[in-house]
Structures are given as C-alpha cells and as structure tokens.
Point group: C2
Chain length 462, copies 2
Amino acid sequence: GEKFKAISVADFFYKNREIAGFDNPVRATYTIVRELVENALDACEQYSILPDVRVKLIDEGNSIYRLKVEDNGIGVPYEQIPYAFGQILFGSKYTLRQSRGIFGLGGKMAVLYGQITAHSNVKVISSQGGYEKYMFELSINIQENKPIIKKKEVRPNPGRWRGTIVEIKFEGDYIRAKPKIIEYFRQTSIILPYANILFIDPDGVLYRFDRITTVMPKPPQEIKPHPHGIDIEMINRMINSSRSSTLLDFLVNNFHRVGVATALSFLKSVKIDPEMNPRDLKPEDIVKLVNKMKVYDKFRPPDPDCLSCIGPELFKAGIIREFNPEFVTVTQRKPSAYSGHPFIVEAAIAYGGRIPIVPPDEILVYRYANKIPLLYDLHNDVTMKVIKKINWKRYKIDLANMPLAFFVHICSTKIPYKTVGKEYIADRPEVEYEIEWALKTCARNLRIYLSKKEKINIAHRR
Amino acid sequence: GEKFKAISVADFFYKNREIAGFDNPVRATYTIVRELVENALDACEQYSILPDVRVKLIDEGNSIYRLKVEDNGIGVPYEQIPYAFGQILFGSKYTLRQSRGIFGLGGKMAVLYGQITAHSNVKVISSQGGYEKYMFELSINIQENKPIIKKKEVRPNPGRWRGTIVEIKFEGDYIRAKPKIIEYFRQTSIILPYANILFIDPDGVLYRFDRITTVMPKPPQEIKPHPHGIDIEMINRMINSSRSSTLLDFLVNNFHRVGVATALSFLKSVKIDPEMNPRDLKPEDIVKLVNKMKVYDKFRPPDPDCLSCIGPELFKAGIIREFNPEFVTVTQRKPSAYSGHPFIVEAAIAYGGRIPIVPPDEILVYRYANKIPLLYDLHNDVTMKVIKKINWKRYKIDLANMPLAFFVHICSTKIPYKTVGKEYIADRPEVEYEIEWALKTCARNLRIYLSKKEKINIAHRR
Ligand SMILES: Nc1ncnc2c1ncn2[C@@H]1O[C@H](COP(=O)(O)OP(=O)(O)OP(=O)(O)O)[C@@H](O)[C@H]1O
Ligand SMILES: Nc1ncnc2c1ncn2[C@@H]1O[C@H](COP(=O)(O)OP(=O)(O)OP(=O)(O)O)[C@@H](O)[C@H]1O
Ligand SMILES: [Mg+2]
Ligand SMILES: [Mg+2]
C-alpha cells in the first residue's frame, strides 16, 4: 500500500528549492544576494532611514563563498531573531502595505541553502539602537521548521548602533553569477538615488553607488482590506475575531475606507439588515455578502497611502545619473486596483546619452516591482507583452534604430508574482492596462521632444 | 515597530495561490481538472490497474462549477482520507520513485480554491476494495493547516468496488479554459493508449478516449537515494535514524546499489575508516564525505526500476491513433541521471497523416513529464531550447513546410519543475543533452524514410 506522511514547509522548500530560485549554485548566488539586500532595504525604508547597505562577498575556495550584508535599518528585536532567520513562513511583512518582502521565506531560504551546501550556520548581529546588541548563530531544523540556536550573546552597544549584519556561507558560483549581480545593484541604484549601496566582490573590486539626494518617498501605511479584495475565508476570519455586534459596525471596523454611510448604503442595496449580528450569518448569507461586496461599485477606491512609489523626481534623478540621457520622460499613473489590491504604475522612457542602440530582440527594458529589479523571464512578463502590443511607429519611435531605454515600476500591496523566486509578474488586465497607458504617455512626450528636435535641426541646416 | 508572526503553509498557499496555478478562474479550472486526474492516474498505474477515469464538469450557474472525478484506482485508506484531502504537504508520493504527484499539495489546492470561492466542501468516496466504502465531506482549516471533517460515513461495499470519487465545487470559467482542458485530455490519451478516459463537459458533450491495448508499463519501484544525490541534510538525517554501527554498513544500507565491495573501495579512496561509527563523524568529516561521494565516479549508475516510461510500442500506438501519421519514429534513451536522480528521455517525431503544416512559430511540440502533458510556457521549456538548437536542415527536415509533430517525454524520480503549478522544466545540462540526442536519433530516422520516399517517387515518375 501507499506510505502516507506529512512534511514541514521547510522540508518542502528544501526538497524543491529550485521553486524558490535555488536551481543551481549560479542562480543561488544571485538569489541569496537579492534576498538579503531586499531585507536590508525594507528595514531602512519602512522607517524613513536613508539606506546604507554594504555587501561583501568573499571566495573561500572550493566554490564556497561567504556573504556579509550590513544595513543601518531598524534592526530585529532579540526574541524575534531566531524565528526571523530560522523559521520558514515567519516575518513582519504579512501586512497590507507595500514592501519588498511578502512571503516570509526569502532570508530563510538563503540560510537553508548555506546550511545544506556548506554546513554553515547563519550569523546575525542586530540592534534596534538601544543599550545592547545581539549576536546569534543559527541553523534551521528542517524537518520541524524551527530554529536551532547554536550560539547567542548579548553585547553592550555603547555607540547605540542600529542595524543588522547577516553573514552566510554557501556553495556558489560568482564567476557566472557576476553579470546578473552587478546588474542587480546597478538597477537598484537607478530606482534608489537616495541609497548608499556598496558591493565588494570576491575579486576585491568595489562597486559604489552613492546617494545623490536625501529625499525619500514617504513610507507606506498599513491599511485594512478593501471590500473588493474579499473572499469567503477572509470574511470568516474577520467574523470570528470581530467584537462588532452589528453588521454595520463590522463593515466599518474591518474594511478600508468604509464609513457608516457607505456601509449603510451597501447593506441597503443588498437587502441585508445592518443591525444583525455578523455571527448570525448563515454560510449562504456569507457567500451572498462576499459576492455582492466584490461587485458593489460605490465603495471608495483604495487609498494610495499603503503604497510608496519612487515618484517622478527621484526616478528621473536615478535615470539621469546612470544614463545621462538626452531626454527622459517619467510618468506616474493614478492609483488603480486589481482584486481589491491598490497598485500604481510608474514608467519612463529615456533617449540618447549613454544609451546604446540595440537590436530589436535585445530591447533595453528595466522592470521593477515594489522597487525590486526583475532580471529574469523578460519574455514571460506582462511589461514585455505590453511593449510588443504598442504601435511605436504611431509615436515616430523606431525601436530598432533609436537609443532607447524603457522603465516600468509597479507598486502594490500584493505583486502577483508567478514564482516564489519573484522572477516575473502574472498577467492582470488592470495592471496591463495601466502599464500600457503609462508607456503611451511617455511615448507621446518623447515624440513631442523628437519633433521639436527635428524642427531645430531643420532650422540649423538652412 | 514591526509586527512579527508565523503563518501555516495552507495560509501561504491561500494568500499566494497564483504560485500554484490558481491565478484566476480560467487557469484554476484547468489546474483543478489536471490535479484530480493526475491523482486518479497515479492511483491506477502504481498498482498495475488499467485506468478507467471518468470526469464530469457541470455548470451550476453564476460561474460555479461542480467537478466530479471517478477512478478505479487503489483507493485511499479510511484514516488517511482527511489528511490526504485536507492537509497541505501530506501525501504518499514523497518517495524515490516516478509518479505524477510529488509535492503533496495538488489535490488540496483544488479543495482550498473551491472552499474560498464557492464555500463548498470536498466530497470524497473511496474504497480499497474491501467490505466497506467511506464517504467524507471535508474542508481545510487554513490557519492551522488541518482537515475539518464536516461529515463522514462508512457504508457497505457489497460489490467490492475499489476506487475513489472526488467532487469539488468552485468558481471557474469553462468557456475560456475549454481549449486547454480538451487538449490536456487529448495529450494524455496519446501517451496512455491503455487508459479509458471519459470527459463530460458542461455543455453535455462527451469526450471519449478508449483504450486500444491492455499492455501497461511496469510500475516503478521505490529506491534508496543514489550517492550522487546526497547533501549534508540528507546524510545527517540518515545518520540520526540509522542503526548501523559501522560506516560500511551505513553506506550499504542507505544507498542505492552500493554493495560491500563498492562501499569499501569508496571509503578506501577517501581514506575514511570503514569500521568507524557514523555517529562519530564530526561536521567537517560529514562535509568531506558528502563532497567525495558526489564526485566519486565508480558508483553504479541508478537502476531504472524506479522509473516507468511509456516505452516505444505504446508511445507509437498512441501517436498513431491520434494522428494516423505517414511515418513515426520513437526512441528511448538509456537511463541517465542528474544530481543523483535517474531519468529517461523518450522522444518521437511524426510526419504526415492528420498532422498539418504549421507556421514555424506554431511548431507542434508535445511535452510530457512523468506522463503529465505540459501545456504552458513552451518557450521557457528546455525542450524548445533544444529544438531551436538542432540544425534540422542537416536532416533535410523543413520545419516550415513539412507536416511534423515532435514529442518529448521525461521520466524521473524528480522532475525539476520551476513552478508549483508544474508548468515547465528548469534547465539541466544532463537533461538537455538527452533530449537533444533523442530528437537527433528521431530526425535521422525520419531523414532515412524521407529519402526512401523520395527515391520511390522518382522511380514512379519515370
Ligand atoms: N536586515 C534586516 N533588518 C531588519 N529585519 C530583517 C532583516 N532581515 C530580515 N528581517 C526580518 O525577518 C523577516 C523574515 O525575512 P524573510 O526574508 O525570510 O521574509 P520576508 O522578507 O518577510 O518575505 P520574503 O520571503 O518575500 O523575502 C522579515 O519580515 C523582517 O522582519
Ligand atoms: N484519486 C485518488 N486515489 C488514490 N489516492 C489519492 C487520490 N487522490 C489523492 N490521493 C492521495 O492523496 C495524496 C495527496 O494528493 P495531492 O494531490 O494533494 O498530492 P500529491 O499527488 O501527493 O502531490 P502533488 O501536489 O504533486 O499532486 C496523494 O499522495 C495520494 O496518496
Ligand atoms: Mg525577505
Ligand atoms: Mg496530486
């Protein structure tokens, strides 16, 4: 007969680590750098700390590398360190606000990979700026998905240092991963002109991206779920943990931007008694309530306070620093939503300067999701689909013969990644629509510039 | 400060269900059919039962569908039914043998999706052919990842029926999913000429694929891990659960095809004492042992008994039934391995008959992994990469102007899927190599046929 058993989620991701971006030592090297740097940047930006992130990758021989990532972020509280780094599906980003992290497993996958390929423990030093700083050496008990504390120390912190240092040893391949890693830092610096990023690679080469501004986007604020994002599971959980004795209070207390007037008019339109106790709702009433909420069109749209875009000024500054283009146009769309999740698309097109002319199948497209550069699977991604769809000739833009670079940034409380490795974004009609109009707006601005330039050239030639 | 919490793996896949193939109602409809049919086929083939699988999809209105899948497989034991269908990361396929299932979550994702979109419980009726059959109605406690038994019954089973019936209601979109669903059944029948598959769709249309043979491939046998597939975590678990008092016994008892002579010669070559107790190995010894095992080239290659290919006869029969080609060549490569995982590539090229001539970017490629048809992400898949690489002109094969269909089937104890939705296969050089040589062998056979045909035509024209 069949042998049945359960496995832990750590065991699942250990057996199937290619699903998380750990296919082989080359891809693993890239993914580990990415995951740790993204944790560092989230820890800074969420608290309006101008990021200082230092990354050092050392070749220890025999394909073993040691990666050290240091940040000046908010730090991790003492009791949370073992779980934050040693328990898969644990973290602080399960909230409805924009952040790079969403799954609660990126950092742990790096730890796990280091553990199974180099038998090494992760070292974490962190402080939240208090009198003490904490040092842990951890590994993961994979079969039970819990941390194993190999060593822990509390040390004095006289300088009130605040931040986190994470050090992992693992089997990697820097030679093959290098182009992607350098490109990742470069693309990160384009979108983060206010961050100091330093990378010292195994060859001792220093890559420095210094900040050119101290202006930062406002950090995102957590919001309650929007009624359009509701499903049966969510509403059951809300009902079970709610103290509201009426459906009216329940809606007002649990949903984003739903006030008494909106709640009353919604309940009236679906003929449900505002005074009834939510716990008295029968299963079929819940289904009806959920279906009605999803299609009721008089709810206020989501508030973009839960998002934190780059903004046209900073985006432009980053692009100018990197490419020194002859012309750049940046646009930010109004907030939109898909399935109740607010999102904003920012796009840019840059022309000339250090941008080369490239063959059409090597078109320069820079994609970002919640400020994370996406470097893989371009042709699967929704942005490429849109670029292929637009009739660039209408804007007198010749993709094959003009020095062009395209930039698309999507911010959302939930980026619809198709993979745990955050490689590309699933198709969503609302997102596709916003990307299309953002790029067309930029295309129109470029056309205006090019035709002005053309007139000036014609005038000069006379 | 940050709010830290842990979530269950069910909660993770609920929040991120697009990662498992549940992006939207269209894709969900396809994925649910796929997951349940694959469970049914595994339950038959593992026990040499000629599969009879009946699938009925009913449109209940309001985008709600009811799917019922019935099989004559081995059935599920009474105590396991709640966990098999109600606990994520639970199953009987965590063993080293070929099967369609590997993750322990496909069926549960279908249950979960039905639960959150249609507030419905899964119904399971099963029997292993004994005096009783069991009926359960279940849902999943998502936050705790455990089953909620809504109803259970033991009924008499006078006819000694053996099999499983699974019924799920969910929000779907058959109209848009239909082409992929029909194609899935069609491609399944090509590779399974010994299976009876019946699909009744919401429009009442019957799609019947009747068996044309009662010959079945031998089911796969479970094997121990191969030394080349070892890593530090694995060997630590083996040591902890081993009763062997010597390293020699430990190797012989825990690894695939490692006999006393092989174990001794390996240990001698790495200067480790065969008599030492495995529990006395220090961490650095374990690292050394693992690294040496991975590169020692005198271990016997994996035994293909853990695999269960179609075989050239059956593959040909399935292709002939579907396409009635003028010519078909099928080849099966010798067993190979990647990272200690045995695999076999089978390939075929069919020419003429009902096969149409298609434009080059619509090339007819049928991909299978452990007998699962892969219908998405063709251009990301390793098979397409190989097809683009081969110089078909050398074989006088004109992709643009000949009626051709290409078939590639990979069998392995571990298919390196890039996604939880089993959409496409990651690149592995060993696998790429085998696919390339399988297709080239077929190409050569086709060329021989075409040049014979050419000679006959020339002879006739005289
Ligand atoms: N450098 C850091 N500074 C502060 N907190 C950190 C740092 N690195 C990790 N953490 C904390 O540890 C948690 C877990 O990190 P991990 O990368 O595993 O998951 P995540 O970032 O929440 O989600 P994702 O899997 O998408 O990356 C984070 O949510 C954060 O609270
Ligand atoms: N029709 C069936 N007949 C017999 N056993 C079944 C059937 N459907 C499910 N099972 C049992 O339930 C277990 C869980 O199924 P599930 O689809 O969730 O995971 P899996 O098939 O093991 O892996 P995967 O996630 O890759 O599909 C299976 O391993 C199998 O033991
Ligand atoms: Mg993270
Ligand atoms: Mg399954």
